[in-house]
């Protein structure tokens, strides 16, 4: 087990290294920062001075080393906008809003999806089953941003039940979480349902029933446990979906999170911030995947030997 962890950690570090290289290259591809920062009336001497100041006259590998060294120490560049705030600060300010949104959505989708999936599998062919499956199909076919707009229109504008946007009160969480969760609820539902259907046909469930265990025990203790592996696998990839989802949801609902920071940065061509967000998110991603993989190896011993 320890060998696997070490191996996985090393893999992760290599990937992180490669990620940083790509982010660095992307940064350099966007064009001359000097031209971006100075007005067109700047003199040649001013441009030269800024170039040297920003370290842009040094050879590329050296620039990369500086970039990496800065990144490790928390200096991810500064926004090109007005107050030239450090990019990392901008990210950290907005991180709580996004983390709250994402974690509530993941938790809710997991619980609801699991519940509906079990119900659909145990009451196969019933109304619950059919409705759940239709919901799942629709959930996976609906784009998150559109669902957000529709929900906003129905619940905020027409019914006036919920606020349209903003962050702070629990009521303002409802619509964004709803839009963000739809796809993942559908996915969890389908995975749980198919896993349960298989598990309910298996030998050990038959044995449990013969033993005289109550149906509740059979379903929730035995069948569910064994159908959870694909669900947990999906949990690993859910965080990726969440990042994508939060960008559009935060844009639709004016949610002050990291996703919207990225979107604003794209619109304003604020490349240092965009670069910082990508680097930050990719790193977070890698760490989460690492943790998930190790947990997975803990649950399923076969993985350790692959």
């Amino acid at each position: 087990m320890q060998r696997y962890i070490v191996r996985r950690l090393l893999q992760g570090l290599v990937t992180l290294f490669l990620v940083s290289i790509i982010v660095f290259i992307l940064g350099r591809l966007t064009g001359d920062p000097v031209a971006l920062l100075l007005s067109e009336f700047s003199t040649f001497e001013d441009q030269e001075r800024l170039t040297r100041q920003l370290g842009l006259d040094k050879p590329l590998p050296e620039q990369y080393a500086i970039f990496l060294w800065n990144a490790v120490r928390g200096d991810l560049g500064r926004s090109i906008r007005g107050d030239r705030a450090p990019a990392l600060n901008l990210i950290l300010e907005r991180l709580p809003a996004t983390v709250q949104l994402a974690s509530i959505s993941v938790l809710l989708s997991f619980l609801i999806g699991l519940l509906l999936g079990v119900l659909a599998a145990t009451k196969r062919g019933s109304l619950v089953d059919t409705l759940s499956r239709v919901l799942a199909l629709l959930g996976q076919a609906t784009p998150v941003f559109w669902l957000g707009i529709v929900a906003m229109y129905v619940f905020s504008v027409e019914l006036k039940l919920l606020p349209t946007s903003g962050y702070g009160t629990p009521k303002q969480f409802v619509l964004p979480v709803f839009a963000l969760s739809a796809f993942t609820v559908a996915a969890f539902l389908r995975l749980t349902r198919s896993g349960m259907l298989e598990a309910l046909e298996s030998e050990y469930v038959k044995l449990a029933r013969i033993k005289g265990l109550s149906e509740t025990t059979v379903v929730w203790k035995h069948a569910l446990r064994n159908s959870l592996i694909p669900v947990i696998t999906y949990l690993g990839t859910v965080f990726g979906r969440m990042v994508t989802g939060t960008v559009v949801v935060e844009t639709v609902f004016a949610w002050p999170g990291v996703g919207r920071l990225a979107f604003d940065a794209v619109m304003l061509r604020d490349f240092p911030v965009l670069q910082a967000v990508v680097l930050f998110m990719a790193t977070a991603f890698l760490v989460i995947n690492l943790v998930v993989d190790i947990l997975y190896a803990y649950i399923d011993p076969r993985i350790r030997y692959s």
Partner: protein
């Protein structure tokens, strides 16, 4: 390979919708009643024909510039399907090839390719797409390039897994003993046998790509105007949601119907071709 009645019915519905969509996309210039990029300002914000103020000249109404919604919807189908088809073609071919090579040759090829796959998976797709769209600039082919970059890894991963499975088969061993070159084994024995899983994957991915493309268009970094795209139509209609609901609702319904159909098709194919492996 038994399919229940409901599965057959839903897959037929899905196929019909997909077929209609493809036809609409191909024959767009003949079917669309108006030019999707030109509108008369005097006609702006006309509601659909069943509402008060609507006209039969613009069945689904017009947008803020007077452009016909139905025509834009039809041409938008073209955009979405074209991007999806090309992106999946590029990503699928490149990814599958790389995955098969990694699985068959093992060793260094495997290590390098798998590290690249990890790399591709470690970038949140939409952020990468946004950054690339800014760096290379939005254009039809750039979007295909961007989406392919995000998509290929999944094909590589699946192709590698399948290759590892197929590699142990007798016919491969026979070919190796007979002295057939590695390239030929790859091309003639391995690739055809892993093709089914990859095709199923491709069908399931069409929906994802369409949603990805529409999300990028919605955010403004997708297919650039004046090319109609469902995502950008939704973005444009966002500010008018109260007064001109059809601007955002209609393209959204189109996306849902399209993705739903492809997902149904993909599910049916999964059941038919991969009975042991669940999606």
């Amino acid at each position: 390979m038994r399919l229940g009645l409901s599965a057959i019915v839903t897959s037929i519905i899905g196929l019909v919708i997909i077929g209609a969509l493809v036809l609409v996309a191909i024959f767009a210039p003949l079917i669309a009643p108006h030019d999707p990029t030109k509108g008369a300002l005097s006609d702006r914000l006309t509601p659909p024909f069943w509402q008060e103020g609507g006209s039969s000249a613009h069945l689904l109404g017009t947008d803020l510039l007077g452009r016909d919604t139905l025509s834009r919807l039809i041409y938008g189908a073209r955009t979405s399907l074209a991007v999806a088809a090309l992106a999946i073609l590029v990503a699928g071919t490149a990814g599958s090839l790389l995955g098969a090579v990694a699985g068959y040759l093992g060793g260094w090829a495997n290590t390098i390719i798998m590290r690249l796959v990890d790399l591709a998976f470690s970038f949140p797709a939409i952020l990468l797409a946004m950054v690339l769209a800014v760096v290379v600039g939005p254009s039809f082919f750039n979007i295909i390039f961007v989406i392919s970059l995000v998509l290929w890894a999944e094909y590589a991963r699946m192709a590698r897994g399948e290759t590892l499975r197929v590699r142990e088969m007798d016919y491969v061993a026979l070919a190796q003993v007979a002295g057939v070159s590695k390239t030929r084994i790859l091309m003639r024995h391995i690739l055809p046998n892993i093709a089914t899983s990859l095709i199923v994957l491709a069908t399931l991915q069409v929906g994802i790509v369409i949603i990805m493309e529409s999300s990028l268009s919605f955010l403004g970094v997708g297919v650039p105007p004046p090319t109609p795209a469902w995502g950008s139509m939704i973005a444009e209609g966002r500010s008018y949601v109260v007064t001109a609901w059809w601007l955002s609702m209609v393209p959204g319904v189109a996306i849902v119907a399209t993705v739903l159909s492809f997902n149904l098709l993909g599910d049916t194919l999964t059941e038919l071709l991969n009975p042991a492996r669940q999606a």
